[in-house]
Symmetry: C2
Subunit: 330 residues, 2 copies
DNA sequence: GCACACTGGGAAACCGCTTTCCGGGAGGTC
DNA sequence: GACCTCCCGGAAAGCGGTTTCCCAGTGTGC
């Protein structure tokens, strides 16, 4: 391993000078010495030891992103946005996936704290479990107490900067649009009730229907993924319009209907939430609520890095996108 | 910031003892002292400083994964597989995305080298540019010279452990299957020729057709993504069967045909490559060559970590999966 | 011509942890 | 009871950088 000392020796200068030349400093170094150091570093193939730098500087140049599942395009888009923003700041990214286990999320915060990362981004829905939330919050507080910054994409439950998609309001707007097409008998593929995102979207949809004086929809719980949507779609009964709380579930529902010979949108209308890019070529094209996922990820990083004292909560509106998977009832 | 010294002081023991208790050691510590240290650490909320540990131990517990694009489900699946394997080994993961810029890939290797990560995984196609490959290889050699381990998913061009999908052979097998259905006029949506993966798949397909004595397919180059497939599909002429070198492009092609009222598979058959999970609900279901992406990612990590001297190259076969997007010509 | 910044170089302290090395006490053997 | 191990606790030397502090040399202003 080539160290700074090797470089300094080869260049015939002190450690201090070599450090100033190679790894940035406010202090100037004379042109000749600077050149000698650079040459030596190049010849030896010197690479600064970041662990040592981090230790000496007391600050690292990496951030941590914790997501539920990287193979879910929702998280991939969010993570990608955050990573682009990070790259723009010259930061490296450590990614952790919890596979939807809240304990893992807590463990990652502890680990990232140990890594002394500059910021931690918690991406994805909180769970409706006060005890778990409290423990996560405690771990996060401990991290922030030692100078770490944090932000979250999801619900504002942790006392940190938050990018909060308007799940409730978006779902409500979608409900109004669908009701405007003449639908009255709805079903909701609601996902798991302990997931706040699922719960908020479901609640927003249900309450909008109530305000319109429409009958209560049938609410079918299940997993938050494609197969969850597939299974839940078996139980939508005589609903003319089905709202899946995310696009991936909606795709599962489409598959279920297709297999059973139920035509979408002729026999039943289907809507999702998120507007996942990879799913835009689905047939029939999915009606959904668009969320600017990449921007949200990038924004979360900005918030985390900004030196504000008060935690900011940024509401992100969703935009209803009507496509072929729903039809108007005459 | 709570340091080990604070803990030791509070527990009334030496730094060495505290270290042995908290951060693992071959040496034993008496039960009472051990308890005192653990209590102090808990009360103070101590978190080991990993940068310091890394420096002192001379070895870190993080690995680096470099992918082209996380929002592409192909890379997401590969990365996920590698990350699961890493988690199983207690390793943390740093992810870098190059956004398909080979220079970025080189830069990441340098950065990860500076981080002294335990292993680097280069995931994704090499490019057919000897000069770039040479520079990447040099950077990689420098990293390995200082004790780093590396592996690659893609082509065996770097002199490191490699998981190599059988692109040529898989595409050839697909060609034979499709020819077996009676097709004779083919087109290939070939992607960018500088991408080895695209090139190999295209070549495998073309050469298999030649061996069968069939006419040369029309080869249409373009970007490796959905829009590339969409655009290339405009030029497939009178081909009865179109092979897109990856699933994402095939989906773009399906969209293009749909818009133009060309029915798949009635008017034209379409096949892809990879068998991306998120795309399995596509209509019509995509004929493709299945690659065990998650396993490949995991395997790459294993190879990198294994203490072998000779670089291993592991060929991964693809399995032709015939689905509704192709039909037999009677 | 002299006090006075100002500049750029080097010595050394320090960041927080691991690990070697040393030493004292307990237990075993003859 | 003398001698030898073995076990466990602590002092201190690193790990590879950054940065403070000191110092010599050079211009400046009057």
């Amino acid at each position: 391993m080539v160290t700074l000392e090797d470089v300094a020796k080869q260049a015939g200068v002190s450690l201090a000078t070599a450090s100033r030349v190679l790894n940035g400093s406010t202090r100037q170094v004379g042109a000749d010495l600077r050149a000698r150091v650079e040459r030596a570093a190049y010849e030896l193939g010197y690479r600064a030891n970041i662990a040592a730098q981090t230790l000496a500087r007391g600050a690292s140049n990496v951030i941590g992103i914790v997501v539920h599942d990287l193979t879910d395009p929702y998280f991939a888009a969010l993570a990608d946005g955050a990573m682009r923003a990070a790259a723009g700041e010259g930061l490296l990214v450590m990614v952790g996936t919890t596979h939807r286990d809240p304990e893992q999320e807590i463990a990652y915060v502890a680990t990232l704290n140990a890594q002394r990362v500059r910021a931690v981004l918690l991406v994805g829905s909180r769970v409706a479990d006060p005890e778990v939330t409290e423990r996560l919050r405690a771990e996060l507080d401990r991290y922030r107490a030692s100078g770490g910054r944090a932000a979250c994409v999801g619900q504002d439950l942790l006392g940190v900067d938050t990018v909060a998609p308007a799940n409730h309001e978006g779902a409500a707007a979608l409900a109004r649009s669908l009701a405007g097409l003449g639908h009255t008998r709805f079903a909701v593929l609601a996902g798991p009730p302990r997931l706040m995102t699922a719960r908020d979207r479901c609640a927003g949809f249900v309450s909008a229907l109530a305000e319109l004086g429409l009958p209560e929809p049938r609410v079918i719980e299940g997993p938050f993924d494609r197969d969850g949507g597939y299974r839940a779609a078996q139980e939508t009964g005589d609903a003319t319009c089905v709202f899946a709380v995310n696009d991936v579930m909606a795709v599962g529902a489409l598959a279920a209907y297709r297999e059973r010979g139920i035509r979408v949108p002729d026999d039943v209308s289907v809507a999702g939430f998120d507007d996942i890019a990879t799913l835009r070529d689905q047939v029939p094209a999915l009606t959904t609520v668009r969320l600017p996922l990449q921007d949200m990820g990038a924004r979360a990083l900005e918030l985390a890095l900004a030196a504000d004292e008060e935690p900011t909560v940024e509401q992100v509106p969703g935009e209803v996108v009507l496509r072929e998977s729903v039809r108007a009832l005459r």
